[in-house]
Symmetry: C3
Subunit: 145 residues, 3 copies
């Protein structure tokens, strides 16, 4: 269900983009515990002049390999989000050779009733998909390492 | 007011895209009861490799005719949203020859003060547009059939 | 932190787009009081047929110079938002020669924990960035005039 818009500067090969999307999905699976095929990724490729990304004064250098991951999702806990940021960063650095300084994420939350995955039905409302509430009392962090 | 981002894979003719947008607007008018000219549609055309859309394990087949409709709107009731999913699906199947399995929707809500339609004014706040609250006690479903 | 998607119809020169982005950022700085380098702007250039923008019945004429500014941000007050609409409009008219009738804005709010600006960290949560609450009792409007 999370719908991801992934903004990059043009220049990556199709193989590189595929690896990028796979790495992002892997972090999503581990952090948000969504089903394997809960994958809705849309890439926007831009000219360099169409992305003006600075750093809020944090002294974070940016390169033309920058990736903005804009997530729309049902609610998740702060812990799950922080896990996602960490895992995403690790995946993109290790698998895609990215710099950790080139990864920006923004999350927007919506609700169960805000999703239809096909056939004109709201699958979280009809019960075809289970409507889980986020829980803060999970016993530990992701055990994927 | 709803702002719609409509993501498709490139390949539709301009006439097909126009029909698609008209069909989506028609469903929006019927389900959300917005004014006729409350139309703010933006199409993003992507290469096939730039959209990775799966099915959350629901066994929904996807084709390269898939459409993602990403709506930003003031609040609507669950019933209105479910009406929108149904009507949208019916319109796109009947008018555009689409498969019901190729239609994905995600909604994000904001508020009256979050919109300016021109002239630097917030028309829902100034009173130029009426600020209606969604109502759950509407007496019946859409009577368009 | 505000992440801005700026949708335009193709045809502006790179210099015109740069001026547009600078003008938008200037309005953002003045209205939302964000740091100078709090700049995250993404431009989407579309064919004219890919943007269907009407006027909710307000009799607002649109041209092919129309700009849609779609903002994702931590919460701001109604006053700050109205200031943003006004200042944005003034900047785009004065600096870019735009018509005030060609400027549409939509805002979506999220929270401190919804942002990571790099290194896999949530900088508003770690304390690297200060987490300010919006205040409605600010003593006066923007003093930039």
């Amino acid at each position: 269900m999370p719908l991801l818009r992934i903004d990059v500067i043009e220049g990556r090969s199709e193989a590189e983009l595929n690896e990028l999307l796979d790495a992002i999905h892997c972090a999503m699976l581990a952090a948000f515990k969504v089903p394997e095929r809960d994958r809705y990724q849309i890439v926007h490729e831009h000219s360099a002049s169409d992305m003006r990304i600075e750093d809020t004064g944090l002294d974070i250098p940016r390169t033309d390999r920058i990736v903005i991951v804009h997530v729309t999702t049902r609610p998740h806990t702060q812990l799950e989000k922080q896990n996602f940021y960490e895992l995403l960063c690790r995946e993109l650095v290790e698998r895609c050779g990215m710099k950790a300084s080139d990864i920006v994420v923004s999350i927007t939350q919506n609700a169960d009733e805000d999703w239809s995955f096909g056939y004109g039905r709201a699958q979280f409302i009809t019960g075809e998909l289970s409507s889980q509430k986020p829980t803060d009392n999970v016993s530990g962090p992701s055990s994927s390492e």
